[in-house]
Amino acid sequence: MSQQIPLTWFLYFAAASFSIGLMGVLMRRNAIGVLMAIEIMLNAANVNFVAFWRYGPTPASEGPISGVMMALFVVTVAAAEVAVGVGLILLCYRRWRAADVDELDTLSG
């Protein structure tokens, strides 16, 4: 029962969504879009953690649960990061009337 879906499927899924997130970060111009792409990347890593925990060498019900703990903490971190990120984007929007990352070019050199 527990082995119906192989581990590799989860890993392919996580790698695929991580790549989608990374492409989003690189190609999106809107800062909110970048923020969303970062969230996808964090969640891809979370899928990895939970999958590795579930299919790990120690039985999931009694072994160390650090993989799941990590995933839970990452969810918290991601929430904090979004709060701060949206705050910063709003701050920039007020100054430039735009939320595009390529408009921010005062600092360079």
Binding site: A14, L22, M70, V77, L91, V101
Partner: protein, 551 residues
């Protein structure tokens, strides 16, 4: 102490707990008692309040170091389910981070760059807390959590300067780069977890060195993990090619925050990097055979690029903060040589001690450099190198202090910067085996770069001593600027004459606080003593689960 936790763990971590509460009290004070005061008065009151909290935390820390830590070492120092280090490493570096924080708080009181002083000082306190926890981390969970807490506080601190547009931009840029890098870092950690089934740093090191085929050869997932973890740390310590945020963030941030970014955050990230790369992934470090590359080669490339780029880009800078930013990138390059030495040297503890020596001196001198920038910011609102013109005539003592600082940053005796470079490069040259040539090349490049760096550091001295000022004179700097400047220059000179005292202290720290797994030896057949995971009884993570009620 066995796995699990006791009251003593809380006592050992009381300086950190105290500071966390102190930050909350800062917010409450700002909103209640001090709400009617002017911005200047609130800045002064809350700054002194924060300094009081930091000082009491240092005192508590040193008291605990004598009372509890004493001479315990090794496994005994781990607390809170083996996730944190409660030994000399923690107490010494906590005191150091807090000293940096005190100096940065002094600088924050120099001028009014924001009106949100309660939030500012609370975030400063909490970022100091998370730096201490990051240094003490012995588990990937606490490591990632404290790393993120630290950077999230720093994103906000960077964007704190209200009067300048560039501050918000710097904050957003730092945020975007930083959070992408931490996502990459986390994915790397997940792959390491998948390979080892553990998140304990020491445990990962043991499992990897006990594997059937130690080393990275043929291990694609391991290679990807190393790459991603290196990207994560590369961003945090601003190594080329992940450095783009650093000059913008340092220039845009208020000068005290830039000082904090360059000293505290770099110190904490590099200690964590030594632990993860040297401790957990140390097995994957060396080039053991042509078919088994380690992470050393990659890190050597990054290090060479970092110091060269940092120094050459700094040559053309006119803004003092931006110049210091590039100088901090260059110093990160030198320090990565130290990290590599820790990874492959046979004298790993000594190599780590030399790196820590360099970090301490670098942190102190760079804070003092940003003290100069804060002073310019307060009186002129700009911080160009030209603003320093004629400073030596008007303020000879400042001139002497800056002279000491610049000599230390270049690495000229009798300043501590010289001994920092000397110890670190000597440890790098002690490396034997296949990577010896790489290390010799890196040290040679490092020395060449030190010569290049002299050009822009001396430009600051030239402005101070040889040029006439054409701008309005600076006012007296006051104790908030002079204290960090004096502490930085004084300690750079003191440890220049007494380098052994600091080095011995750092050796004690690295001997008792860092645990390195055995490294594979190329020719030796290690046999299949351990399979993939060690026996359950050896697993410190298994203990908490055993305490859980059984049906």
């Amino acid at each position: 102490m066995a796995a699990g936790f006791s009251l003593q763990d809380f006592i050992l971590f009381s300086p950190v707990i105290l500071l966390t509460g102190w930050g909350l009290l800062t917010l409450i004070l700002d909103l209640t008692v001090l709400s009617r005061l002017s911005d200047t008065d609130r800045n002064r009151a809350l700054g002194l309040w924060t300094i009081a909290g930091l000082v009491s935390s240092v005192v508590l820390c040193q008291f605990l170091a004598f009372e509890y830590v004493g001479n315990v070492s090794g496994q005994d120092t781990l607390i809170f389910f083996d996730t944190l280090n409660g030994g000399v490493l923690y107490t010494q570096f906590a005191a150091l981070v807090l000293l940096f924080a005190i100096l940065v708080t002094c600088l924050s009181m120099v001028w009014n760059f924001t009106s949100h002083w309660g939030e500012y000082y609370a975030l400063l306190t909490w970022s100091a807390v998370s730096m201490i926890v990051l240094i003490a981390s012995e588990d990937l969970i606490t490591l990632f959590l404290s790393l993120e807490t630290m950077t999230i506080c720093l994103y906000l601190l960077t964007a704190m300067e209200k009067s300048k547009k560039r501050s918000a931009e710097a904050g957003l840029k730092y945020f975007v780069y930083g959070s992408v890098s931490s996502a990459l870092f986390l994915f790397g950690l997940s792959l390491v977890y998948g390979q080892t089934g553990s998140t304990g740093i020491d445990m990962i090191g043991q499992i990897l060195s006990g594997a059937e085929r130690p080393g990275l050869s043929g291990n694609v997932a391991g290679g990807v993990a190393v790459l991603m973890i290196m990207v994560g740390f590369g961003f945090k310590v601003s190594a080329v090619p992940f450095h783009q945020w650093a000059p913008d963030a340092y220039e845009g941030a208020p000068a005290p925050v830039a000082a904090w970014l360059a000293s505290g955050s770099k110190l904490a990230s590099l200690v964590a990097m030594v632990k993860v790369m040297g401790g957990a992934l140390g097995t994957w470090s060396a080039t053991t055979s042509p078919t088994s590359p380690g992470w050393v080669g990659l890190l050597a490339l990054i290090s060479a690029a970092t110091m060269t780029y940092g120094n050459f880009a700094a040559l053309g800078q006119t803004n003092l903060k931006r110049l210091l930013a590039y100088s901090s990138i260059a110093h990160a390059g030198y320090m990565l040589v130290g990290v590599i030495a820790v990874g492959i040297s046979t004298r790993r503890e000594e190599a780590a001690a030399a790196l820590f020596f360099y970090l301490v001196i670098y942190g102190l001198t760079t804070i003092a450099g940003f003290a100069l920038a804060s002073w310019l910011d307060r009186d002129r609102g700009t911080e160009d190198v030209d603003d320093l013109n004629g400073l030596g005539r008007r303020h000879p003592y400042v001139g002497v202090a800056v002279c000491v600082l610049m000599l230390s940053m270049i690495g000229i005796p009798p300043t501590a910067g010289f001994f920092g470079k000397l110890y670190m490069f000597m440890e790098a040259l002690n490396v034997g085996g296949q990577d010896k040539v790489t290390m010799i090349g890196l040290v040679a490049l490092g020395l060449f770069n030190s010569v290049v760096s002299a050009f822009y550091y001396v430009r600051i001295l030239k402005a101070i001593f040889l040029r006439e000022s054409d701008r309005k004179p600076l006012q007296n700097m006051g104790p908030e600027v002079s204290l960090p400047l004096a502490v930085g220059a004084g300690l750079a000179l003191f440890f220049g004459f007494q380098p052994a005292s600091l080095l011995e202290d750092m050796e004690v720290v690295s001997r008792s606080g860092l645990r390195f797994a055995e490294r594979p030896i190329a020719s030796e057949e290690r046999g299949v003593v351990r399979t993939i995971l060690p026996a359950r009884t050896e697993n410190p993570e298994a203990a908490p689960a055993a305490e859980a009620p059984k049906p």
